[in-house]
């Protein structure tokens, strides 16, 4: 069986949950099938510069084929398109313009897909908010398997994604909450799907002392791994400042990740330390050294950071506004969720002061990862799904993209309204 893994960015140095998941699955599937990764030359999701050279290479036993990506739109253009799509009645063409402005297109990659579609049995598209995924899934609709990693942000209410979800051969979800959200968006459309997720590879014996020594960090701390420019990072710093005010001698906060915008401006707190971007070894050392891992994202459907912390036996403190994260914490019994500042303080204090609770949650999380996200489990789910799809030829041809006039008809309601109605 020959599989194509299509993802916007790929490589060991590339950060991002979707990209990490694609790499994990590609590397593991490569042991059982002929896997080729189709990706762009970009490494950063903010600049989209062609940092890697185009062409083929082999990374960790996986064949990787890179294509050049077009120049990204300016921030003002992105904002203009986003405003039109989210707040005004618009057309499908407006949504496509917004999508291409958010995540640039690689025409050469799409050409390759169309030309060599017959060479692949299935194409696994990672990440739904990508122009490559959208056009690629239409190019090889009968072979397209989408791993959307849907977030409950306003973009999920756009028409193009609802059409895309209904058009692909199958969808593999990371969590039941994600599936429920997509099913609500695609109300009335039948779609083959399964909840599979993806595991994590963590070292057997991380060295917490090494991280503390390297970064000169003493005392207990909680850790946040993720972008610092976004809303999540800023919110977390604000919440932690409140916690530090109430608990004068509690945990510190270590921020790991790139970005120096809004968080940089407010993170001059004596108990907030910035560790910058870490490689995988340092990251796992840092998680092992932490008392708890904080996942403050409101929209996330599946947190690989949470999985990594559970795999290392550490509890998670997640944002309770994310239904998917709350579901994960409850199912695993491995983390607590907060819904406001008071709860953040209360939960963090509970994790800090009750070592038994901390250890019990970590143990539960580790067991949850072993039971559901070990490659043996995930791999067998992938195998079953692919075999089932190969034997089932009922949906060979997908629908075509909307025509010229259909794309330009201004009858799509604002995405924010749609999201609000399905939330």
């Amino acid at each position: 069986m020959k599989l194509a893994v299509v993802v916007q960015r790929y490589g060991p140095a590339v950060r991002g949950g979707t990209e990490g998941q694609a790499r994990y699955v590609a590397e593991h599937l490569a042991q059982h099938a002929d896997v080729e990764v189709l990706t762009t030359c970009a490494a950063s999701a903010s600049t989209w510069a062609n940092e890697f050279s185009a062409g083929s290479e082999t990374l960790n036993g996986v064949q990787v084929r890179r294509f050049r990506v077009s120049a990204p739109a300016s921030a003002s253009t992105r904002a203009r398109h986003a405003d039109r799509v989210f707040t005004q009645t618009h057309s499908i063409a407006d949504e496509l313009q917004w999508l291409e402005a958010c995540a640039p297109l690689s025409s050469s990659l799409l050409r390759h897909l169309r030309k060599n579609a017959s060479a692949y049995d299935f194409c696994l598209f990672y990440g739904y908010r990508s122009a490559i995924t959208y056009y690629g899934s239409y190019a090889v609709a009968s072979k397209a398997i989408l791993i959307p990693r849907v977030e409950s942000d306003p973009s999920i209410g756009t028409r193009i994604f609802a059409d895309m979800f209904g058009n692909v051969r199958s969808i593999l979800f990371d969590s039941p909450e994600e599936r429920s959200l997509v099913q609500t968006v695609c109300a009335g459309r039948s779609m083959s799907n399964a909840v599979i997720g993806a595991g994590v590879d963590v070292p057997q014996s991380p060295q917490p002392g090494r991280f503390r020594q390297k970064r000169n960090i003493r005392g207990p701390f909680a850790i946040y791994i993720g972008p610092m420019d976004g809303e999540s990072g800023t919110d977390l710093v604000r919440l932690f400042a409140r916690y530090a005010k109430e608990a004068s001698s509690g945990l510190s906060l270590v921020l790991v990740g790139e970005g120096s915008g809004s968080v940089g401006a407010v993170a001059n707190h004596p108990r907030i330390k910035r560790a910058g971007v870490l490689d995988d070894t340092d990251k796992f050392d840092a998680i092992a050294a932490a008392e708890a891992v904080i996942v403050p994202s409101r929209f996330q459907s599946f947190s690989r950071t949470a999985l990594e912390s559970w795999a290392l036996g550490k509890p998670v403190l997640a944002n309770g506004e994310s239904k998917a994260l709350t579901g994960q914490c409850v199912r695993s019994n491995g983390g607590l969720c907060y819904r406001n500042a008071d709860e953040f303080v209360g939960m963090l204090q509970a994790l800090e002061q009750n070592r038994w609770l901390n250890a019990a949650l970590g143990r539960n999380g580790r067991q949850f990862v072993r039971d559901h996200y070990d490659w043996k489990v995930v791999g067998s789910k992938y195998h079953d799904m692919l075999m089932k799809l190969q034997n089932d030829r009922s949906k060979d041809a997908g629908a075509s993209m909307p025509g010229w006039f259909a794309r330009r008809r201004r009858d799509v309601s604002p995405s924010t309204e749609t999201t609000r109605s399905v939330a």
Partner: protein, 310 residues
């Protein structure tokens, strides 16, 4: 959440989170989210806007203002319609001036000018109303927030009061444990006289400095020489015991000195405070060492089982 504790073999995250949330609610009082505060504020504002629910004359005032703004402006009579023909271009102004009589044949320019002025006034009024509305809204939000805060603070005051009362009770209980170290001779004497009742070791009881000095001073002022340690006579001890009992009985009856929160007195009920002249006629009790006498008192007056922290 310092007192949050889990010791079960298996944890239930939902249960733990609910416990923490309950504790937060307990600590903070009513746990309103920002959205709930907004909802509360909206509710009040709706009540304010709805004329059926308004209980003050503020609505009438608003109606009066509206009526005043709706009424035709008296200055309308003196409106100058020339504003309709104003322009910054001189050639156009002169042309309009020439053509004005012809235009006036077709239009009521005075009415048009009045409408124009009223439209301007309406725009300004609407903007003012909008500002007023926003101001009111913000005030109501702040009031709601303050109301919640006041409620929380009152709950905290109640909590602090409870703690204070507890501390007072504890202090009183400790004070009631009047201890006294007898001399060796007296100990042997008391042991020989009441061997069955003195079950507790002597080493458990230690004299309290303040009680000793207080008693000594009282005795000294009464004419007797200050007697150290256990060399005081049986009459003095019984007098002191009566004084203590009387003080305790009086304290419990008084409004400020009673056991707070209606704490029941366990053990033997205390004797009512005897008048001073009656005290002299009280039949002498069988003589006991001080620690023997104090032991039941300490149990009855302020036993540890009564000291419920909250």
């Amino acid at each position: 959440m310092a007192d949050f504790n889990v010791r079960a073999d298996s944890v239930n995250v939902e249960q733990i989170m609910e416990q923490i949330r309950a504790r937060i609610r307990e600590k903070r009082g009513v746990d309103y989210t920002e959205a709930e505060i907004q909802q509360l504020a909206t509710g009040r504002l709706e009540k304010f806007i709805d004329p059926h629910n308004v209980r003050s004359d503020l609505l009438q005032e608003f109606h009066r203002v509206r009526a005043a703004s709706d009424a035709p402006d008296p200055s309308e009579e003196v409106i100058d319609e020339s504003v309709l023909f104003e322009t910054h271009r001189p050639w156009l102004r002169s042309l309009r001036k020439v053509l004005r009589p012809i235009l006036k044949l077709f239009l009521n320019t005075k009415a048009l000018a009045a409408l124009s002025l009223r439209a301007k006034a309406e725009v300004s009024r609407r903007s003012r109303d909008q500002l007023t509305f926003e101001l009111l809204h913000n005030l109501v939000v702040e009031m709601t927030r303050l109301g919640v805060e006041v409620k929380n603070l009152s709950m905290r005051v109640e909590s602090l009061q409870g703690r204070l009362e507890f501390n007072e009770r504890r202090a009183r209980a400790l004070e009631s444990v009047v201890v006294y170290k007898p001399s060796e001779a007296e100990t042997t004497d008391s042991v020989s006289r009441a061997p069955m009742r003195d079950a507790r070791p002597v080493a458990e009881f230690r004299p309290r400095a303040d009680v000793q000095t207080g008693a000594g001073q009282t005795e000294a002022s009464g004419g007797g020489a200050p007697v150290p340690g256990g060399s005081e006579g049986p009459g003095q001890r019984s007098r002191r015991r009566r004084r203590r009992r009387g003080r305790r009985g009086g304290g419990m009856q008084g409004p400020g000195g009673g056991m707070p929160g209606g704490m029941p007195m366990t053990g033997s009920s205390p004797a009512p405070a005897a008048p001073a002249d009656e005290a002299t006629t009280v039949a002498p009790e069988p003589e006991q060492p001080a620690h023997e006498a104090s032991a039941p008192e300490s149990n009855g007056g302020g036993s540890d089982t009564d000291l419920d922290p909250q």
